[in-house]
Each structure stands twice: as structure tokens, then as C-alpha cells.
Symmetry: C2
């Protein structure tokens, strides 16, 4: 819970874009607040305290508003356009909580990608509700948060493309190729050809087949696979200067 | 040239890390200022004006201090540690130019990679000299600028690894494989095996051989090659979701 004893920098804030995979869809974490009878949705974010580092602020703010903690947040971009805040409803909100609501706030944005089921949400502070919204469901967010969330998703997709380990962290220890394809389809945002997908998988030594199969399923039990981190690291991290 | 009519945000600055390739070495652009008889080296950087966007600030500050302009600068990270400024000589410098030198300044950092020969330098404002320092030559920089420069170089190398087009922009329109290898050696920071290097090059359709050869050289004239942007784009930018 927030206290009044902290001093804040009135011109610097931190926003968190947390993406979650629920086994089927990628979702983004939003807070909802009530304002003059209207519901306003936003990314979890707040001003930077004078006494905290940027990384600490991101963790603290996410926890204050949503209850999530111990999540790896990575800074991805800082937003500071002069017209970041232009919607009258946003200005009205700032009038109620800030001393100089007309002054520009530069916001340092962090992202994260987690499994949805691993965490409990708890709205507090100025958040009235916390929700996991599917990313393909468009919704008007406060300030420039639509732009921040879209930029985060675009940069995170790029990261997954170059560092697939980020995606594998969303799967269970053992997974079927159907689950892996489902995950990639939710990241890419469209269906993928099964044959092509499996052909590419076969060349990847870090995806190792197990002698274990699904049980209790109506269809033919599928084989389980395992992500081998050691093989992955030796392929991806050692002097791969000439990927081109 | 700087004017007094602008208002600045006292807690937000912008720093520029410009890397240059001179055909042989990668260098980083530094400014030198005189302070109490000592020479202090730093990245070009200054406070953000209230009236400018972050991107505009980066261009303006780089131009004010070094004379460079029309350079593509990309934001890569924001630095805001509580102990960013701890060296007495840095504090002394801030005492002479800032109203509240003890307060934390969060700095938004940009990087760029250019050909050294394309630009003229001109030190002005508080910079007494501008210089291109080879990146393997260590030098103590002001504030946390060593950390900022090292982070920039590390992130830029990652970018080149994933988007080799960034490196090819440093070469002339037609180049020899020796030039290409020299560039990569300067990026990697060590010598590369010529045979392995050429083997990898052969598989790259976007590096196309020309029917042109060096002239006026003592050794056997080498063939020129060309970077084919169209082939590169079709290979790298279209749905390459499964690089893994």
C-alpha cells in the first residue's frame, strides 16, 4: 500500500507492460480505475520516487498496483513526446493527483513475458481492478499507453525471434509439438503450416524428444519434447557472429 | 550555438554514443572539456529542453557539442542509478553549471554507427575538443559514461549480429572480401579465420560478386562485391519467424 512519506520526481514515471501466456493466448496486464463515472484502462505505471533506481521503481510500481512480484522486468524504451498527454479525460485525472499536471512526464517503460497461471493478481493503490486482456482485443488505453504497449509487443517479438529461449520459458518442462506450435501461433498472430513447422523443429538439436507420451487423450498420444538449455546456449551464445 | 532563452528539465538529460568506422578501427566520439586545469572526457550530452522531444534533443545536443548533424540516432537505454554521479570532479563541474547539482539526473542514451570520413567535427558550446577515440583504448570518462558507452557497444554488436545490414552501411558501394573481413574483425575485436569467413560469405546471396576488380595494387587484384539490399530484405524481413 502506498504511503505519503515518499518524495517523487514529478517529471519521470515508469510504466510496465507485462505479457502473459495462458497456454492459448498472449495477454497484456492492465489496470482499471474509475474516474468520474467512466472506466479507464491503463498500463500499471506511476511516478519515480527520488530514493529508488529505475529497475526498483518498475518492480515496486507493478507490485503496488497489481500484486505481482519477483518478475523479471526489462527496460525497453523511454517515451517523452510533448503530446503524450492530450486526452481531456487523462488531463482531468492528472489534475486530481499531480501538482503540475500540465508539465511533461517522461516515462521509462519495462516489459516482461510470463506464464499467466503462475501469479495471483491483487488490485490495490489507485487500481480498482487488474485484468489480463488478450492482445488481439483492442481497447483504448490512457495517455500514450496504446503506443507503449504496441512498441513493447513489437520489440518483444523481435527478441523472441533472435532469442527463442524467451518463448520456451512459457512452456511446461515437457511439451508436445502441438503445444509448441500453438505458442508460436499466438506470438506470430496467425496459424502456421504444421508440416513446415515440424520440418524446422527437426533441425534444432536443442529440442530433444523424450521417451514419454501423453496419456488419457482421445487422439493418438503425442510425444513429449524437452528444451535443452545447454545445447541451446552452446549454439546461440558462443561466438555466433556470422549468423548472416 | 547555445542561447539562454531555453528552459531545461533539471532531472532529465540525453547522451549520445556515436561509433565511427574509419576503414580500419571502430571509434567512439568524445568531447573534452577543461575543468580546474584538468582535462575531462565525456560523451556528448546535456539536459533536455522543455520544448523538445527526446529524439530532437539527441540531434540538437550532438550538433551543439560536436558539429555533427543529420545522423540517425537510436534510443537504446535510459540510465538512472542513484549513484550515477559520484566522482568529486563531476560534482564540482555540476556545481558550476546546475542549480541543484545534488539531484539525480536520469539520462536517455542514444547510439549511432557511421563512417568517420563522412563528417566534419566542430567543437562548440562547452566542448573544447571533439575526438574519435578507438574503442579498444580505455579512458576514464565523466559520470557513468564508461558504463553507457560499454552498454551501447554491447547492444550495437547484438544488433549487427541480428541485422547485418547495419554493418554493410559502413562499407563502400563496392568492397573486397578483405575489406568486409576487416570490418567484422574490428566489430568482433579479434582476427577471424580467412577460410571460414569466406565459406560463410559464399552462402549469402545478398553479397553478390561484381565483374570488377581492384586496380593499381601490388598484390593480385581482388574482386569487388556488392551488398544487394533487395535480396537481403527478402531474406531477413519477411516472416523469418523461425530463424531458430
Amino acid at each position: 500500500m502506498e504511503s505519503v512519506k515518499f518524495k517523487y520526481n514529478p517529471h519521470i514515471s515508469v510504466d510496465c507492460v507485462v505479457f502473459g501466456f495462458d497456454g492459448e493466448f498472449i495477454r497484456v496486464l492492465l489496470i482499471k480505475r474509475k474516474q468520474a463515472g467512466q472506466e479507464v484502462y491503463a498500463l500499471p505505471g506511476d511516478l519515480l520516487r527520488l530514493s529508488e533506481s529505475l529497475d526498483s521503481a518498475a518492480s515496486r510500481i507493478l507490485n503496488d498496483l497489481t500484486g505481482l512480484k519477483d518478475i523479471y522486468l526489462e527496460q525497453f524504451r523511454t517515451f517523452g513526446d510533448l503530446d503524450r498527454i492530450s486526452d481531456p479525460i487523462d488531463i482531468e485525472w492528472l489534475n486530481t493527483i499531480r501538482e503540475h499536471p500540465e508539465e511533461r512526464v517522461v516515462t521509462i517503460a519495462y516489459y516482461s513475458l510470463i506464464k499467466v497461471d503462475r501469479f495471483d493478481l491483487k488490485a490495490s493503490f489507485f487500481a480498482e481492478q487488474v485484468l489480463w486482456q488478450p492482445i488481439d482485443e483492442k481497447r483504448q488505453l490512457a495517455f500514450d499507453h496504446n503506443n507503449i504497449a504496441n512498441t513493447a509487443w513489437s520489440m518483444l517479438r523481435d527478441k523472441i525471434r533472435h532469442e527463442p529461449i524467451v518463448a520456451f520459458s512459457l512452456l511446461p518442462d515437457k511439451f508436445t509439438l502441438r503445444q509448441l506450435q500453438g505458442l508460436y501461433e499466438s506470438i506470430v498472430g496467425s496459424t502456421l503450416d504444421k508440416r513446415n513447422f515440424r520440418k524446422r523443429i527437426q533441425g534444432k538439436k536443442f529440442i530433444t524428444p523424450l521417451d514419454k507420451f501423453e496419456s488419457g487423450v482421445a487422439h493418438k498420444p503425442a510425444r513429449y519434447y524437452h528444451f535443452n538449455k545447454e545445447i541451446y546456449n552452446s549454439e546461440f551464445e558462443k561466438g555466433q557472429w556470422f549468423l548472416f
